[in-house]
């Protein structure tokens, strides 16, 4: 099953190695310029007036008090938006500034520019907005009843006709709930807009997709896209939260209005209102199996609360539905997944994107089914594990590697961690010293998940790369230029590695991502190494062909053979017998060879709207987890002792970065399991701070053993498989399964709180 990908060792630091990040020295010395670090002469600061109400009519806005504050240069409302008043990723429905009404707490109503950030904030507080408060719709079930539907994705796949398929020896049912998780990147929403002499604007911003920002910002400013130029500023994490616009249009409006550069930086509290979150979900499942533990059918109803605007809810619903039974062979599947509009905070992209919610439910169900059958949980999963040649509930053939049983076996077969020592820091409660070990029970849990990689459902998903080869200082040098967003994952490193491998040149630079080159698509859906990696490789191959074509003029063609027989190694063209044909320095002289290539993955198709059938996804990725926990059953405190992960990455283009993605993704799943939830009461967020919204600290995270498989996918560059999301998906149910094993409780909701354990 393993595909061996031919890989010339062209030069050090290529594909399959872990060279140092090119931005690493700047990052460790504090000199890397993040979007909140930017500065310009005459710069003003922007601030945002936000609605305190989740639902209200706008009766009037009085900006006179704010404008009177010394140091204030502009106060703008929806009436000042020169172009489209709304924007959106797919559906244009979100106001730049509220028009006539507000639909969620924190919705932007007005913006202010001033010469000091505190002046801007104080002026914002003096904008008087008259609201006629309405009762918010905050229950997703109510919203569905009212018909406030974003999307319904049904899946209908029957092994035999109709309801006859829905019979089984053993049936388990369960209702599950997933709370609203926040991406909680550390670098707040921020950027600098600089008005340009041509009437346009240059925006330096932290984002995941420059071109989709450019399209939306230009439309709202009423400018042609070429007058709205975006450059990627340093990005302090993303995880989906930078897919939608935040301050982009606002900063540009203020800059164009005042004629001065405008910087906007959200504080942490504002950040909780400034981006979309992971959809909270209610999921009802029914699994039917034969006595020998073979799944016969799965029925599910999944309800996702999309909040006030569409954002990426349609695609999240599709993921929840199409991946809704997990990586298992299920002959009959009946799923209905719904996304609805409410007056809760808008929800959209977060790492795992619909697959996270479904995985918590289907893996909880698999454990429940194993218990009902008297089977070991891993054994039940093995008996139903998808393999190459399996068919998804959408009817799509899984034609690539699908090592589901193998991944589970790998985490199961690892030695278990030692019992806790006497160090109180290794007990639940830690230095709070809440137990001496009494009431502490250990549990072990397993889970595995499935994720689609790249954009689905017929989306025209592509990336663009420009690669330039020339001689610099007597050495061959490569410049790679794309618009792909480096958000921390290490894409800048990977782009350079690919160029080194393809062109055999050590000196490779990666230009700052901006909109002067074609779109790279989004740094999301675990797609960027696949897509922009693929584009960089293709552009390098085009450069290679151009360079080798020059050989014919200079050298004896009989000796060379075909271009395929030549390789570029360490700055030289080398024949298949190992002899050096030419050096790149001689071949190039003073010339520059530059190629720009748009690269696409294999096409996908839409889902049939009635049956959910269709080859909608590009590639499937899998990760398995085993979690070991200690639970203080008297206080409900959980300490995760160890998490082991096994993941197939196809090809580890940068092994160190791959492990970093797996560990970081696992941590976010652990957070959802035991602590992370935006608590929304009547549409109002109760915990918009790092004091009250908890993310895992180094004390909460256990050692994480990682087992990386490399089963090449023949369709993907170097055989690689998207890495970023799978580890986030299955770590949540694995941790909860371990808590259930320790406590015997049902725990149908995440995050699991102490009172769920003590007062079930």
């Amino acid at each position: 099953m393993t595909t061996v990908v031919k890989e010339p060792t062209a030069v050090a630091g290529g594909v399959g190695t872990s060279p140092q990040r090119p931005d690493g020295v700047l990052k460790v010395s504090g000199e890397f310029a993040y979007s909140s670090d930017l500065w310009a002469d005459e710069m003003l600061w922007g601030a945002t007036v936000r609605s305190p109400h989740p639902s209200a009519e706008l009766r009037g806005i009085d900006i006179t008090g704010a404008l009177a504050v010394p140091g204030v240069y502009a106060v703008l409302t929806a009436a000042d938006v020169p172009g489209a008043r709304h924007y959106g990723l797919e559906v244009v429905d979100q106001p730049v500034l509220a028009v006539d009404e507000v639909r969620y707490e924190g919705e932007p109503v007005a913006i202010v520019a001033a010469d000091h950030p505190e002046t801007a904030r104080r002026a914002a507080a003096r904008v008087k907005v008259e609201y006629a408060v309405r009762a918010p719709v905050t229950d997703a079930e109510d919203a569905l009843t009212r018909g406030d539907l974003v999307r319904h994705v049904p899946i209908r796949r029957f092994a035999t006709a109709g309801d006859a398929a829905l019979t089984a020896d053993v049936v388990v049912t369960g209702d599950y709930e997933v709370g609203m998780q926040d991406q909680a990147f550390l670098g707040p929403e921020s950027g600098l807009a600089v008005p340009a002499e041509d009437g346009g604007v240059d925006l330096f911003v932290a984002t995941q997709w420059l071109h989709v920002d450019q399209r939306q910002v230009a439309a709202c400013l009423g400018l042609p896209p070429e007058k709205v130029r975006l450059s990627l500023a340093g990005v302090g994490g993303a995880f989906g939260a930078r897919e939608d616009l935040s301050m982009q249009v606002h900063a540009c409006l203020l800059a164009l209005h005042t004629g001065r550069p405008v910087k906007m930086v959200y504080g942490r509290e504002e950040s909780f209102f400034g981006h979309v979150h992971r959809h909270p979900a209610r999921l009802s499942y029914e699994h039917g199996a034969s006595r020998d533990g073979k799944l016969l059918y799965v029925k599910a109803r999944i309800l996702l609360d999309g909040g006030a605007y569409t954002s990426s809810t349609p695609a999240v619903v599709a993921n929840a539905a199409t991946l809704g039974v997990g990586p298992y062979d299920v002959p009959t599947v009946v799923i209905d997944a719904y996304g609805v509009y409410t007056n809760n905070p808008p929800c959209g992209a977060m790492r795992g994107f619909g697959a996270v919610q479904a995985c918590f439910a289907y893996e909880s169900q698999m454990d429940k089914l194993a218990a009902a059958l008297g089977l070991d949980p891993v054994e039940l999963r093995r008996r139903n594990a998808m393999t190459t040649g399996s068919v998804m509930p959408t009817g799509q053939l899984v034609d690539g590697p699908a090592p589901v049983a193998d991944l589970l076996a790998r985490v199961r077969d690892r030695p278990l961690p030692a019992p806790a020592t006497g160090d109180p820091r290794e007990r639940p409660g830690g230095v709070a010293n809440t137990t001496r070990g009494e009431g502490v029970v250990r549990g072990v849990g397993y889970a595995i998940g499935i994720k689609n990689v790249c954009f689905s459902e017929g989306f025209d998903d592509y990336s663009t790369a420009r690669v330039r080869l020339s001689v610099v200082g007597g050495e061959p040098a490569v410049l790679v230029h794309t618009a792909a967003a480096e958000v921390g994952q290490g894409l800048v490193t990977v782009q350079a590695q690919i160029a080194r491998t393809e062109l055999g040149v050590a000196m490779v630079s990666v230009a700052t991502a901006d909109t002067s080159v074609g779109s790279a698509g989004s740094s999301s859906a675990s797609r960027q190494t696949y897509m922009t990696g693929g584009a960089v490789r293709a552009a390098c191959q085009a450069v290679r062909a151009t360079v080798l074509a020059r050989l014919g003029r200079a050298t004896d063609p009989d000796r060379l053979g075909s271009a395929e027989a030549l390789s570029l190694v360490d700055g030289k063209v080398v024949a298949s017998d190992g002899s050096v044909v030419a050096s790149l320095v001689d071949l190039l002289g003073d010339d520059v060879v530059e190629e720009t290539v748009e690269w696409r993955h294999k096409p996908t198709r839409p889902l049939d709207p009635a049956t959910g059938q269709g080859d909608a996804h590009v590639q499937y990725a899998f990760a398995a987890h085993r979690a070991v926990v200690d639970v203080d059953t008297e206080l409900g405190l959980v300490r995760v002792v160890e998490i082991a992960t096994a993941q197939d990455v196809g090809k580890a283009v940068n092994p160190q970065a791959v492990v970093g993605q797996i560990q970081g993704g696992t941590a976010q799943g652990l957070g959802l399991a035991v602590m992370e939830e935006i608590q929304v009461v009547d549409g109002v967020v109760r915990n918009p701070s790092f004091t009250d919204y908890l993310i895992p600290t180094i004390l909460d995270m256990p050692p994480m053993a990682v087992d990386v498989l490399e089963l090449g996918d023949p369709d993907a560059p170097y055989g690689l498989r998207g890495v970023g999301e799978p580890p986030t998906i299955s770590s949540t149910p694995a941790v909860v399964a371990a808590i259930r094993a320790a406590t015997g409780l049902a725990l149908p909701r995440v995050p699991v709180r102490p009172d769920h354990i003590v007062f079930p």
Binding site: K27, S29, F185, L186, F690, L699, M704
Partner: protein, 155 residues
């Protein structure tokens, strides 16, 4: 008001400082030292950790006026000179182990680790976790940060 303090070995003066400004704001916006980061500005994340008279503090929780006449060392001041070879062992270890992803937590963590190793040259894993409990990282899951601290301690 004016605030004068020694920052990274040099006497620096910031003019027109508002009474409400934090040391973090003055470092970042008035003294051109954006290395200390602004992730939460409420003392929860540790991204703005700097030394104040030799003790690590969250610069966001220190009023600018409190720094008057005192000594501040930021992440920019840890390396004795310019260039990769001159980096502090903690900075080198973060690079070597892949403990840097987005890097927003990195400056604060590097100062916190620098302080830990000055106090405890051979920390155990529980010592490391306890010492860094006030520094949030969202990218790494902390495993490679643990590796970085162990490597820095051994080097």
């Amino acid at each position: 008001m004016k605030v004068t303090c020694v920052v990274n070995g040099e006497t620096r003066q910031a003019d027109d400082v508002w009474p409400g400004e934090s040391l973090l704001y003055v470092l970042r916006e008035r003294l051109g030292l954006p290395g200390a980061k602004n992730a939460c500005e409420q003392g929860e994340c540790g991204s703005c950790t700097v030394y104040l008279d030799g003790l690590p503090v969250c610069a966001c929780l220190v009023a600018a006026g409190q720094a008057e006449g005192r000594t501040v060392t930021t992440v920019e001041g840890l390396a004795p000179g310019a260039g990769e070879e001159q980096l502090d062992r903690v900075q080198k270890a973060f690079l070597a182990t892949g403990a840097v992803q987005c890097g927003f937590c990195t400056p604060g963590l590097i100062v916190a680790v620098h302080d830990l190793l000055a106090r405890e040259p051979e920390p155990s894993d529980p010592d490391i976790r306890e010492a860094l409990a006030g520094n949030l990282c969202r990218c790494t899951g902390y495993e490679k940060i643990m590796e970085a601290v162990r490597l820095a301690a051994a080097s």
